[in-house]
Every structure is written in structure tokens, then in C-alpha cells.
């Protein structure tokens, strides 16, 4: 795997970009990487079902220690029923004014820490977050989320040469300052941005949206080569098919 130590930002605007999360999850599991999934939006069984369609079994991966999952929906409730002294990754839910995400970072660090014991060595560690925008809704400030991603980048990408993939939503026309600061701040930190957009003309049965790929930190500084590509896609049951703009088989 040639790409290491990179932060990939998944962004969706007017559509649902979670298919990219499922893709990366199954991709990295199949590539034998140690994966930490911070699942704040869906339950574990949802990812498991979709993962089975894509050819990986999340339950098996979790059992053999390849996959560590933080189920936000389930453990978010635990925060309120545990004694306060015990640190919890989602501790900010209890705070009156949500401070920083250091406990969440500590959870990620402990989950992906490379261990030198005799067990099967996984390839690079990978952090997947689905998604970051919900943290804004839970009261965390955008700078705190940016700091969390900064630390994940410093530890997972820089120190352990792993990868980080985060999903964030673009609020689009709605004037959501915090969401814009978060999205722009993350874009500046990322190496690669995959942006799933709904079609400008609305919903279509055969073309579900378009994907823009932007290489944000190319290895060579500003060269003349094209740094962004656009494809249109259609999500099918077990895969996603990509094609150049206007070249959907249904339209030709």
C-alpha cells in the first residue's frame, strides 16, 4: 500500500457520503490493517451488514483484534451511568460546556498503539471517523474537533505512518459558521479530499451523484498538472460504479 501517513477527508454535500466510509472500512480490513472505527452515527450491526455485502465480516475482525469499534450510540448512554472519575471517550457529553476531545483521542491512541507482542503484526493503523459533524451538534466547538483531528494526525499519520479517514458534512447554503470552519480547517489539514455531491439538477435514478477528488497536498508543490478529478457514480447493491461525467450507461 503506497499511501501512508495521510489524512483523507470525506465530505458530502446534498447527498449521503457514507458509502465512502463503508468502502474505506472494507478496503482497509481487507488490506490487513488495524482499524479503529469511531462510529457515532450508526450502530455496529449496520456497518456489519453493509460490510458483509462488500465482503468483510466486521464481527470476525473484531474478534481477532483487527477492528476496534467505539459505538457512539450505545456508549453515549453509558457516560451517564458510570462513576464520574472513570474517563470515558465521550466524556464531553457530561460536561456543562463541552471542553476538548482529549479522552476520545486517548481512546484512539490506546486502540491503535502498535504493540510488540508476538501476535500477528497488522499493517499500518487506520482511524475511521463517522462522522465529525455530529460532534458539532453535540456541543463540541469546531476548534476542539480540529484539535482532535490534529492530534490524530500527529500520532496516527506522522508517528505511526497510518492513515486517518474522516467524514464531515458540508452544510452548503445554510449559514452554519461552525460547520464551515470545521470543513475548511479539515480541508487545510488533509492530503486528499473526496467530495460527494448531489447532482445540481436534483435526484436521478441512474446517477446518484458526483465525486470530486482533490489532491490538497501534492508531493510536488504547485505543478501544472491537474490536481482534481470529477466522476459521477451510481451506488449498487454490492458496489459503486464510477464513470466520467455524462457517460452513465443509462444516458448513452
Amino acid at each position: 500500500m503506497s499511501v501512508q501517513g495521510k489524512l483523507t477527508l470525506l465530505c458530502d454535500a446534498k447527498t449521503d457520503g457514507s458509502f465512502l466510509v463503508h468502502h474505506f472500512l472494507s478496503f482497509y480490513l481487507k488490506a490487513n490493517c488495524k482499524v479503529c472505527l469511531v462510529a457515532l452515527i450508526q450502530s455496529f450491526s449496520h456497518y456489519n451488514i453493509v460490510g458483509q455485502k462488500l465482503g468483510v465480516s466486521l464481527t470476525a475482525a473484531r474478534e481477532r483484534g483487527q477492528l476496534v469499534v467505539l459505538e457512539g450510540l450505545k456508549s453515549g448512554v453509558d457516560v451517564f451511568f458510570r462513576p464520574r472519575e472513570e474517563p470515558h471517550p465521550l466524556q464531553f457529553l457530561r460536561e456543562a460546556n463541552a471542553g476538548d476531545l482529549q479522552p476520545l483521542y486517548a481512546f484512539v491512541r490506546d486502540a491503535l498503539q502498535p504493540v510488540d507482542s508476538g501476535e500477528a503484526a497488522w499493517r499500518c493503523p487506520v482511524l475511521l471517523v463517522d462522522d465529525l459533524s455530529v460532534l458539532l451538534s453535540l456541543g463540541v466547538g469546531p476548534v476542539a474537533v480540529l484539535d482532535f483531528v490534529h492530534y490524530c494526525r500527529a500520532t496516527v499519520c506522522q508517528e505511526w505512518k497510518g492513515n486517518v479517514v474522516c467524514l464531515v458534512h458540508d452544510s452548503g447554503d445554510t449559514e452554519d459558521e461552525e460547520s464551515d470552519v470545521l470543513l475548511n480547517g479539515l480541508s487545510h489539514q488533509s492530503h486528499l479530499i473526496l467530495r460527494a455531491e448531489g447532482l445540481a439538477t436534483g435526484f436521478c435514478k441512474d446517477v446518484h451523484g458526483q465525486l470530486r477528488i482533490l489532491w490538497r497536498r501534492p508531493l510536488q508543490p504547485t505543478t501544472h498538472r491537474d490536481r482534481s478529478l470529477t466522476y459521477q457514480y451510481k451506488i449498487q447493491d454490492k458496489s459503486v460504479s464510477f464513470f466520467a461525467k455524462g457517460m452513465s450507461p443509462a444516458v448513452l
Partner: protein, 371 residues
């Protein structure tokens, strides 16, 4: 500007009045008396954002009215050597920052980099050993907020790290690069940051001692979209030079706004590109019609071929078309009447132009009627 100075609160006045046009030669006028010839917040230098100028100017004015580092009513002059570089997601500015750092290092200056956003390894990438030896990297990337257990953080956090840069410069010209100002703005209160920046770019020792060439030059990288008009205006008023990056069709350009004391701000656009070894290459403006990626060998296709209907005209058809008289002719009589209105035009006139198929019969058809 020591730690004892009270931190001014950045507050927007309730109804922002539109800022007076900036850039004049500082005749003080009322509330703006403390700004010598600077536009209120430099409202003309940020073309990319959509805020109304009144909003932006109001933020800048509030800051000025509360007083800069010297307190109320005294002119905060722009720091002589602070250059702010504003980039965006699409046109990133770190390459240009590295190119400027390289230039300074090649001149023999020592360069101090306060790195908050990228690791030391990544920043040094692309520089040869000659430059790297002159570059001192102050690492605020690995552990800026002291979250790690065995603390790898710089003592005192970001503010102390920034202040320490002031004392670290050995004698001789030096350049301080801040990567990035946006990170510092997010983690420090804006007035504190501005005061510290102001202190950084002035000489600590008596101004008479050091020759002008030995001043400290401060370069800052700022991500425009991340901040509101107030902090942006404050930082731009501190900076002597502001470089905003944009571009067109893969070619980067920089809009450079330069404010010298007691002179009008100058604005220029410079197209440039950065080579893989981070040398800066200035270029002329690319021609607007150039399409660098289109295939020059594509033959132009005639759209009227392969149609199910005929769009062409034969010679005979063309002649018939040209000699056709149009049904509604503009006769000379009507033309004259229109050109000379008011000649007995009490009632309206009807101009009747009979065409070839009309049958003019002067008899009144109602004569038959036996009424």
C-alpha cells in the same frame, strides 16, 4: 507591549456604519484619528469573502477604537516587516511560505519556523541541507496542548513559544515564519496574538543601534476562510504586506497589497509558480484564451452533417430567398410620416400597402344594401 497590558476585548459595535474609504494619506478625522493612513481593516484586500464591507469595517474600527498595544488614542503603526500570506483550500500557501523561507536562508539569514500545522519532517522536505542547517523548527505540531503523557510539549504552550521566538534571534538579520497564524488565532485570544506579533517584529534593542537591514522579518501563513472579519482585519492592519493567493487554470497568482508608512498602499498582481525545489519563479500573466489541456488536433466537426433534415440551400433556393419581398414593407410614405411627426396628425393615419394579391376595388360594398 508586555504581559501587563490589558487585553482589549474584540467587540462589534451594534450598528456598523460603513467605513470611510481607506488608503488615504492619514489626515486624522475624529474617531479614526488613531489610524494613520490605513484603511479600516483593509477592506479592499479580501476579494474572496462575501461579508458586507460595513460589517468588516465595523470590526476593524472597534479594534482600533479600543486602542492597540499602546492604549487608546495612540497610533498603532503597522509593524515594519510583518507579511501576512492568505491562502484558501484550493490555492494552498505553504509552498509559497517555504519558497520565501528558502530565499531568506539563501541570503544567509537564520530562519525560525514556528510549526503548528505540519511536522518538522514534512516542512523540511524538499529543502537541501544548506537550507536545513539555517532553519530552526520550533515544534508545536506534535503536542501543542500537552495531551501526551510523557509531555513532548514546548513549555508554556503556544503563547510562550511565540514569545520565546523574540528572544531567540541571535544578532544579525533573521526571518520568523509562522505556520500558521490561523492555528495561533484559534488558540490564542486575538488581541494577545496581535500584541505579541507586534512585539516580535520590532527590534528589542534601541532602534538607533541596529542598521535597518538587520530587522527581523516575520512571515505568517493565514487560512482566510477560517476566520471572521474582525481577526482578519486586525491581522491585516498589523501587516505591512499582504499576499492573497488565488489562481486560474492551474496557474497560481498572488495579489500583493503593500502598505508603507506615510505612503499610499500599492496593489499588484503577480503570477508565479513554485518549482519542485521550492524556488520561486515569477511569470507573466497567462493569456485568457489558453486552454492548456485541450487537444489541438481535434478537427472541428460540422454540425449540419448527418441530420435527418436538410439545412443546406441550393443556388436556386438561395436566389429565390434573396428576391422574396417581405410582406410588411416599410414604404417611403410611412417612413416620411414617421420622420416628420406633427404635420396635421390630429387623427391617426392608416398606411395601407397593397401587395401582389390584393384586389383593390374602390366601390363601397355597402351600396347594394337597400337601406
Amino acid at each position: 507591549a508586555g504581559p501587563g497590558a490589558p487585553a482589549a476585548q474584540l467587540r462589534q459595535p451594534p450598528g456598523g456604519s460603513p467605513p470611510p474609504p481607506g488608503g488615504g494619506t492619514g489626515a486624522p478625522s475624529g474617531r479614526r484619528g488613531c489610524r494613520e493612513g490605513h484603511g479600516a481593516g483593509g477592506s479592499q484586500s479580501h476579494p474572496r469573502r462575501g461579508e458586507s464591507p460595513a460589517e468588516r469595517g465595523a470590526g476593524g474600527q472597534a479594534w482600533a477604537a479600543r486602542g492597540g498595544p499602546h492604549g487608546r488614542g495612540v497610533a498603532p503603526t503597522a509593524s515594519p516587516r510583518l507579511r501576512a500570506e492568505a491562502d484558501s483550500v484550493e490555492w494552498e500557501g505553504r509552498s509559497l511560505l517555504k519558497a520565501l523561507v528558502k530565499k531568506s536562508a539563501l541570503r544567509g539569514e537564520q530562519v525560525h519556523v514556528l510549526g503548528c500545522e505540519v511536522s518538522e519532517e514534512e516542512f523540511r522536505e524538499g529543502f537541501d541541507s544548506n537550507i536545513n542547517s539555517r532553519l530552526v523548527y520550533h515544534d508545536l505540531f506534535r503536542d501543542p496542548l500537552s495531551w501526551s503523557k510523557p509531555g513532548k510539549a514546548l513549555p508554556g504552550g503556544p503563547l510562550e513559544a511565540l514569545r520565546a521566538l523574540d528572544k531567540r534571534t541571535v544578532s544579525g538579520p533573521a526571518t520568523i515564519a509562522l505556520d500558521s497564524l490561523s492555528w495561533l488565532l484559534h488558540h490564542l485570544p486575538c488581541p494577545t496574538l496581535c500584541q505579541t506579533l507586534h512585539a516580535l517584529s520590532r527590534q528589542d534593542s534601541c532602534p538607533g543601534d541596529t542598521p535597518p537591514g538587520e530587522q527581523v522579518r516575520v512571515l505568517g501563513l493565514l487560512h482566510e476562510e477560517l476566520h471572521g472579519p474582525g481577526p482578519l482585519g486586525a491581522l491585516s492592519s498589523l501587516a505591512q504586506t499582504e499576499v492573497t493567493l488565488s489562481g486560474m487554470m492551474g496557474q497560481a497568482s498572488a495579489q500583493i497589497l503593500c502598505r508603507r508608512p506615510r505612503q499610499r498602499p500599492t496593489h499588484q498582481t503577480q503570477w508565479f509558480s513554485i518549482l519542485p525545489d521550492f524556488s520561486l519563479e515569477l511569470q507573466a500573466e497567462p493569456p485568457l484564451e489558453s486552454q492548456p489541456r485541450s487537444d489541438p488536433h481535434t478537427p472541428s466537426v460540422d454540425p449540419t452533417t448527418h441530420l435527418t433534415f436538410n439545412l443546406h440551400l441550393s443556388k436556386k433556393e438561395r436566389e429565390a430567398k434573396d428576391s422574396l419581398t417581405l410582406p410588411f414593407q416599410f414604404s417611403s410614405e410611412k417612413q416620411q410620416a414617421l420622420l416628420r411627426p406633427g404635420l396635421g396628425q390630429a387623427t391617426s393615419h392608416i398606411f395601407y400597402e397593397p401587395d401582389a394579391y390584393d384586389d383593390l376595388d374602390q366601390e363601397d360594398p355597402d351600396d347594394d344594401l337597400d337601406v
